[in-house]
């Protein structure tokens, strides 16, 4: 079966992809498609949030299990490093360190 190319800008009529809900909607659409090889074309997308990529990445396992292969193309110079960062962090989320706030000053007003 040939690749199904989806232009994300046209699909959502937006140059920004911010919310996790948008990522869930995208996953839902892909899941319904008969094609098993899907290309997401990000031409015209100026900005996508870390949360959007993080949420979409979380469906990677489900997509693999359903035999679907998804590829992302045409990320701009700002989004390509963010997408890579999110992919790397999703694999090591449990080891991300948080700086304790126990030593923060406290005042009451």
């Amino acid at each position: 079966m040939s690749d199904k190319i989806i232009n994300i800008n046209q699909l959502f009529s937006s140059q920004s992809l911010i919310t996790r809900q948008i990522a869930r909607d995208l996953y839902g659409l892909i899941d319904q498609m008969p094609e098993d090889s899907i290309i997401l074309d990000f031409s015209g997308i100026d900005f996508a949030s870390r949360s959007f990529f993080d949420e979409f990445n979380s469906y990677e396992t489900q997509l693999n299990l359903s035999g679907k292969k998804v590829r992302i193309i045409n990320l701009n110079d700002n989004l390509a490093p963010l997408y890579k960062l999110v992919g790397e962090n999703s694999k090591k989320r449990r080891s991300i360190s948080y700086k304790s706030v126990a030593n923060a000053k406290v005042i009451s007003i």
Partner: protein
Amino acid sequence: MISIQAQPDTISRIKELLGNLRYLNLLPEGSQFAIDRIKAVNPLSIIPMVSVINRKKLQCIDQKINESLLKVIQFPAQKDILENSELKRSQVPIIHFHFNGKYKQEISKKLNLLHMIFLNLLRINIITDKRFIELITDNTFGFVLGEMIDNIDEHSNAQNIYLFAQYDAEGDYCEVCLSDDGVGLLGSLKDAGREVLDSNDAMRKILGSGLSAKTEHGDIKRGTGIRYTRLAITNKEINGEFLIMSGDSVFLHTAADGEIFINFKDYFWQGTIVMIKLYKPVSKFNLYRYVR
């Protein structure tokens, strides 16, 4: 009466804000209020008051409002951004979204659009120094605004959000404040079944260990949005400030002075307020040096 003075630091502004909020809290719904003096207008001082004034349908009877910047930014009027043709001016008014009765997907689309429009407003209308934008970069603003907006969509269950930004050319900084009237940090965690005692405990666990209301395929998922926002803003290059207020607690993190919790003795904010303040860096800022 309301008083908005030029305060030397953010803690002083919070004290002044608290006084104003306590005053507004005592007023019956639909009643009138006056303004004692207005010496400065900034997002953190204005946005929480606007939220209360609109919720309680209070009316400002003071003529001072007509002579000041408050009139220009349409304090405390409500505007739906999608219908507001006055946005393309240098003094962008306070933006108000109302979500009553809308479906999740519809709210999400509207918030998505808000991000796109507001980012353009920051670039073109609000921040008049183009060098400021070049150095901070669209990417930085887009990133932190994206985190703030997605948190509202995911966790707040809000009916109303207010957004306002201001660029101070003399001080070389931009301040953005976003507030919602949702369930707040404590409410969000409790609704998700997390063990938290009160607002301060909720805030400490979110900030200090990434406790989140999110789950992923049944497992509790750690939150990283606030962590990344703080890293992006409170480094030595941006030298900025990050503030979050929810319930009876405020957390303020400044690059200059570190971290502080401010506990309110007798006031409770229903919802969440986030303020970010970014100063002009000396060279082009690379967000990914800090967000990794």
